[in-house]
């Protein structure tokens, strides 16, 4: 079985600060990590490989520093890692990104057909969750998003059964192979890489493909030119207003309870809050 995992290197948001003047993320000096959801996708791929045999190829698009993230995937047990890097890829939105990655997956498939594409559900920095569906569409493969459990996989019958998280419950879905699966964090607990794999990762040099390697000669689909999305404004939400605090004397429980009821029923601000909360979440 050949599994491809598409990953993204993201700034470690636990260390991100917002520039108070420009309201943009201060990226300089912020360490990069593999997008957390993607680590779960990678772990799931390695588990499937251990169960069914085969190989795992990791692919990403990004600048040269993304090689660190790719090397790290080798420590989990990936067999090969490919970096799609070209100056022309810069400034790509989800549409242009999925185009370049699609080309890369096609090229990976030429060497050995791909049975499964695993991705994280969404990236920590952009939070859009759009690249995997974009890939599925371009590949013409079924897409199974927000998967938290792989129930069964039958290689000979070319089918897979998964559990998807949907609003208010879960869905058990069967799909043919190949397909695209996006994983949530509930799917597994990533392993602590073994020492031999740490050494392999330390020595590993990821393969790099530029746009020529990917057979892209039309620049209108990649990078800034291939990106119709415009971010008009990014801002940090202002601090919440603090409500008034009412202290109820609890020495007489009965009087306290009736005071609380009176407050809840007649305090206009509370009524508004309750009503609007109900509207929103219906």
């Amino acid at each position: 079985m050949h599994i491809v995992v598409s990953i993204k290197q993201v700034p470690d948001t636990s260390e991100v600060r917002i520039d108070p003047r420009t309201n943009t993320m201060i990226r300089s000096g912020v360490p990069s990590i593999i997008n957390p959801d993607d680590v779960h996708a990678l772990e799931e791929a390695i588990r499937l490989k251990e169960q069914f045999g085969g190989r795992v190829t990791v692919v990403t698009m990004g600048p040269a520093q993304a090689r660190d993230a790719l090397r790290e995937t080798i420590s989990y047990g990936a067999d090969e890692a490919i970096l799609c890097s070209d100056r022309r890829f810069a400034g790509a939105d989800t549409l242009a990104t999925s185009y370049a990655l699609w080309k890369a997956i096609l090229k990976i498939g030429e060497a050995e057909p791909v049975d499964l594409l695993l991705c994280g559900r969404q990236a920590l920095d952009g939070d859009t969750g759009q690249v995997p569906p974009g890939l599925a569409t371009r590949l013409g493969w079924p897409q199974l998003t927000s998967v938290f459990k792989i129930e069964e996989l039958e290689l000979s019958a070319r089918r897979i059964v998964v559990h998807r998280a949907v609003e208010g419950g879960e869905e058990i879905v069967c799909s043919r192979l190949p397909c695209v699966i996006t994983c949530t964090r509930e799917i597994n607990i990533p392993r602590y890489p073994s020492f031999p794999n740490m050494v392999r990762a330390a020595r590993y040099q990821p393969t790099t493909w530029d746009k020529t390697d990917l057979g892209i000669d039309d620049d209108s689909q990649i990078g800034l030119r291939g990106s119709p999305t415009i971010v008009s404004k990014v801002w940090a939400p202002g601090p919440r207003k603090r409500g008034a605090t009412v202290l109820i004397d609890g020495s007489d429980p009965e009087a306290a309870a009736s005071q609380l009821v009176r407050l809840l029923m007649h305090e206009p601000l509370l009524e508004v809050e309750v009503a609007s909360a109900g509207d929103k979440h219906d």
Partner: protein, 446 residues
Amino acid sequence: MKRLKRRTLSEANLAATDRFDVVVVGAGLAGTAASYLLAKAGLSVLCVERGEDPGTKNVMGGILYRQPTEKILPGWWKDAPVERPIVEERIWLVTPDSMVQGGFRSARYGEEPYNAFSVLRVKFDKWFADQAVGAGAVLVTDTVVEDVLRENGRIVGVTTGREQGDVHGDIVIAADGVNSLLSKKAGLHPELAPHQVALVTKEIINMSREKIEDRFLLNANEGATIEVFGDSTMGMLGYGFIYTNRDSLSIGVGALLSDLIKKKINPNVLMEHFKSHPMVKRLLEGGEAKEYMAHLIPEGGAASMPPVYRQGMLVVGDAAGLSNPIYREGSNLALMSAKFAAQVCVEAHERGDFSAEMLSRYQTLLDESFIMDDLRGYSKTSSFFQGKPQFLERYPEILVDALHEFLTVDNVPKRAKQRRILRQVLSRRAPWELARDAVGALRALT
């Protein structure tokens, strides 16, 4: 170091994940320097570091010397991420409200090839490790070495805290810093005693370049150091320091651990005391504390050094107790010890002999160098000043009061003034005590 013909063993080791010619534990200055030199000599080298990246767990005051580092990497300062070349070194002796200062500044230090640089270890160590990896060393980070690996009582490698974590090496170099877990596991030395180490706390305080250059009277991109003795350590054996980085200050204060214990002083309290000294506070105003760290420094000199070799193992840098704090030396000793260790590893590898006898050559190289000479001297210095708080409490006060008297203009004849000063001094310290301390200090420092 001459380049080796690779032996068959090395060749096999080049692809293996569990067998190397040399396993280096710790990617600080000593560990990385040894890894770099060994890889360059054609040996297969594994360097294991517990931090996420080299430098994230490493602490020093922040001054790296140009010449000793060039013994490892000629011209290193042209490419390395250094902060500022140091052109001025000041020494302050302080009492709670006064200060006596001395220092040296030279424009020569502001020109190539420079004398010393302030560095931030997080940046520098990563760069340094990149040089070792570029030379062919294998660097595994985020991994703790838990023990030496033994076969029939012989050390044959190390055990890491990961699955399938055993890794073989003909020689293990313990470069795991002060309080070296590995040399303890190898039976080389017991726990350090509180009087053998100083505990230093340090902060990185962000400040604009212009402000730093104005406050420290520096030309653009030049740096200064200040070492502060006396009230800075609340009378304990140690000192405070302030070093200028590009756009931050490194400030720290350290005292002998046994003094901190005896006086029941929390290191944070000591740090706050140092930072709030009127002369220090003024330099820090408007800065923003960015990082906080603490570190132990070997203080015992040669007398506290563990055995630095045994069959299959060498100990380098802080792990070997190589530090000369009064001269602010440590990094240079670490680098030189790494160079000697690498040299001995290459010779041992050529002969296929990893016995204690073969590796004792490392001890000989240390003995023949300036390192052991200096550290024997430091043992003397350190043991003399221990338990003599008068040097950092009484004497600074006497000196400050004498100068205060001398420089206060109050229409007293100079001759009377000198007599008054002498009376004041003698009333606080008997002549024989003064003479004994003066002679003792002179002996201890020379």
